[in-house]
């Protein structure tokens, strides 16, 4: 795993190598093992390398035999060995044994279409010197990040936004619509980011810059068109397990040892169990545990460890720990957050690094693609109830949701009815499954200042989402519609990014995700929804397929979504745990940054002082305001953005 950056300059001045070195210096933690800069003519490319495959060779930016192609690549192409064999049959000769070289050769052979053959997670840039063409691509689900901007005839890109911001002359401004989107969906809708004029290359996209023109297109789409193929449940389970086993095996390809995250839930236990089956070497596993029992899953983690026989390490996390690293977490995720939940993953990756590991497999993605989330269950119950609105019994199913939310469980049926009430027009809304969540989240925009509100008065984030749905969406099953909304937006924008790539790479740790193998994803999309969630039994087909791979206690336990303390991480008994929390929420500082209403923030602060009964919305509001303030301080107000780890030395520069 690595960091990439570059500049394509259409003006007379070639990009200066030392400026590219400064860019890559800002994200050096993504690749501390090696570093390289190439600049020639119009192009400058930078690379920070985390060496995983072909430790001796594999230096980047890498060129082909005649120097007409240069690549800077972040990620893994897991099927590189198979692709290479095929290329060798077609006469290609390879200098080393890295996957990077395979990309170059396949590009030579097939041009931009080469990406369709890749199974993996990637963000790369290829400079095609003969055509004077810059070609960028990002993996299907957006595991690896890529951003870009235009400035004075220069096209500038990087794995992280801070690399772009460090380039001279780039303005750093808030994109208020991006902020509005985060305060609705928890993430922006790509290509928009929360920085004005800086774009994200969306998942499954390519972008070509040639002769001053830009062309971008998608090479793959999430498609939930059903095809039952006449299969029985056993057939589906068998196919699922076969792909999961293969997807896990190819993700073990590495020249350094590979570990695994173990949450105590079904998905990571299955992945770890498959690794145990196919690998002889001792396996290290890593877990987050919480001091607060409400969030802790140690009991199940230990049962899984006993069953799997791994060398297990855990990091025990308190509220104070979260508060201490939160400003650093915001530096890495580069956007406001509505939850503190990325912070424990930031601490976990530091444990992995201390143990000398840089690659971990995890169960990420299973809930999205095989139907594990409560939001799918909630939508199913609401729809079931709406078909007989007068039913007295149907709303009682709502108690099956959110078993960990005590305040909800204690509500009488009349309140449950009122909270989850479904109207006839709701049922017709394509966003039916997610509207309650987004509308609840959007209410925290009440904390925006009058100025922010007036500048956003003509914008409606939920309507933009409705307008951006693919035409096939309305033909899909409601369950698939909910899956699409989750997998297309929250997943890349928050789970894989803020809670994934960014907090892993902060400590130079690469995540690999067998459930995100696109073959498995395409299989799951074709399955009948009722075998993903059988009545209210989530991930039914996975439990069936993997029944021999996990201990019974883990297979039969109630699903507990991963959560971390939010307000309680920053306040104890009404008092802030660390001085920066009060500083960021102080009326003057709020007024100075202009985004929020100081009086409203003051009233929220007062409520925290006097009350323990704090709901979901208040938690999101507090974390959202605090993280926005920290984000503004670090990215907008700071005099400049540079490396926090010192300058990159000149000997990495390749000038031609």
């Amino acid at each position: 795993m690595c960091g990439i950056c570059g500049v394509l300059n259409f003006n007379s001045n070639p990009p200066k190598a030392n400026l590219i070195a400064d860019m890559i210096g800002t994200i050096r933690y993504r690749g501390p093992d090696d570093c390289g800069v190439y600049s020639s003519g119009k192009i400058g490319l930078g690379h920070a390398r985390l060496s995983i495959i072909d430790l001796e060779g594999g230096h980047q930016p890498m060129q082909n035999e005649d120097g007409s192609l240069w690549i800077s690549f972040n990620g893994e192409i897991y099927n590189y060995a198979e692709l290479r064999r095929d290329l060798e049959h077609r006469g290609h000769r390879f200098a080393g044994h890295s996957d990077t070289e395979v990309i170059l050769h396949l590009y030579q052979e097939e041009g931009e279409e080469c990406v369709r053959h890749f199974n993996g997670q990637w963000a790369f840039a290829i400079w095609d010197a003969r055509k004077e063409r810059l070609f960028l691509s990002r993996d299907r689900l957006g595991v690896r990040p890529l951003f870009y901007t235009w400035k004075h005839g220069c096209f500038i890109f990087g794995s992280e936004i801070k690399a772009i911001l460090s380039y001279p002359g780039i303005r750093r401004e808030i994109d208020l619509i991006g902020l509005d989107q985060i305060f609705t969906f928890w993430s922006t809708l790509p290509p928009r980011t929360v920085f004005k004029d800086i774009q994200e290359l969306p998942p499954a996209s390519c972008l070509t810059v040639e002769a001053g023109n830009v062309r971008s297109w998608s090479y793959w789409h999430l498609d939930y068109s059903r095809d039952d193929e006449g299969l029985t449940e056993d057939d589906w389970a068998e196919k699922l397990l076969a792909l999961l086993a293969d997807g896990t095996q190819i993700r073990l390809r590495s020249d350094v040892p590979v570990g695994a995250y173990l949450s105590g839930g079904l998905d990571s236990t299955i992945v770890t169990s498959i690794i145990r089956r196919y690998s002889e070497t001792p396996l290290k596993t890593f877990s987050i545990s919480f001091e607060d029992a409400e969030f802790d899953e140690r009991k199940y983690q230990r049962e899984a460890v006993q069953f799997l026989g791994t060398d297990h390490h855990e990091i025990r996390i308190s509220g104070q720990d979260i508060a201490e690293v939160f400003p650093e977490v915001i530096w890495h995720v580069e956007k406001p957050l509505l939850r503190s939940a990325p912070a424990p993953f930031y601490l976990l990756s530091s444990l992995v690094r201390q143990q000398g590991y840089k690659v971990v497999l995890s169960g990420e993605g299973a809930d999205e693609i095989l139907g594990g989330y409560d939001i799918y269950k909630e939508a199913k119950i609401r729809r079931f109830w709406a078909s007989q609105p007068e039913s007295r019994l149907r709303p009682l199913l709502l108690k099956r949701l959110y078993p960990y939310m005590g305040s909800l469980q204690s509500q009488p049926a009349s309140y449950l009815r009122a909270f989850f009430h479904v109207t006839a027009s709701d049922l017709l809304d394509p966003l039916f499954s997610h509207l309650p969540r987004w509308e609840l989240t959007a209410r925290i925009k009440a904390f925006f200042s009058d100025d922010t509100k007036s500048r956003l008065s003509s914008y409606n984030a939920i309507q933009e989402m409705r307008d951006s749905l693919p035409t096939a969406f309305l033909e899909w099953d409601p369950f698939a519609q909910a899956q699409y909304l989750e997998t297309r937006y929250l997943f890349p924008g928050y789970i894989l990014s803020s809670q994934g790539d960014r907090v892993g790479m902060a400590h130079s740790v690469e995540g690999r995700f067998p459930f995100l193998d696109h073959r498995l994803l395409e299989l799951a999309a074709r399955m009948p929804p009722q075998i993903k969630m059988k009545v209210l039994n989530e991930k039914y087909i996975l439990k069936r397929a993997a029944r021999d791979l996990v201990p019974e206690s883990v297979r039969k336990r109630a699903k507990q979504p991963y959560r971390a303390p939010d307000i309680d991480a920053f306040f104890a008994h009404g008092k802030s745990r660390l001085p920066y929390v009060e500083e960021m929420l102080a009326p003057d500082r709020i007024r100075q940054n202009g985004i929020f209403n100081p009086e409203a923030v003051g009233k929220l602060r007062d409520k925290l002082r006097r009350s323990d009964a704090i709901g979901v919305k208040d938690n999101m509001a507090l974390v959202g305001i605090l993280s926005s303030q920290l984000w503004i301080e670090q990215f907008i107000n700071s005099p400049r953005i540079d490396s926090r780890e010192g300058k990159v030395s000149d000997d990495v520069l390749i000038n031609k």
């Binding site: 509500q411 009233k603 709901g615």
Partner: protein, 84 residues
């Protein structure tokens, strides 16, 4: 009655609206439909009523018919106090 309504309104505006847009909330507006109250909010509201008006709210009384608008809350509190 009007001071009772004002007291309830102040609590709701401060606690659920954080002082914003309080003037647009009428005594008849549904707190649920306006998105002001969630499951924790109901518990906050009940605690406020018990502490402020020194009355005991029974579990079976925690229903939207009693608590879902400023007017309903005021009527509920008045009846409970009268019954004591």
């Amino acid at each position: 009655m009007s001071s009772l309504i004002n007291e309830v309104r102040t609590f709701i505006v401060d606690n659920f609206l954080f002082g914003t847009n309080g003037d647009v909330l009428s005594p008849e507006d549904s707190l649920i439909e306006k998105g002001l109250i969630d499951s924790t909010g109901v518990l906050e509201l009940v605690t406020f009523i018990q502490e402020t008006f020194q009355i005991c709210v029974e579990d079976h009384e925690i229903v939207p018919a009693n608590l879902d608008s400023i007017g309903k809350i005021a009527t509920f509190v008045r009846l409970k106090k009268g019954a004591c």
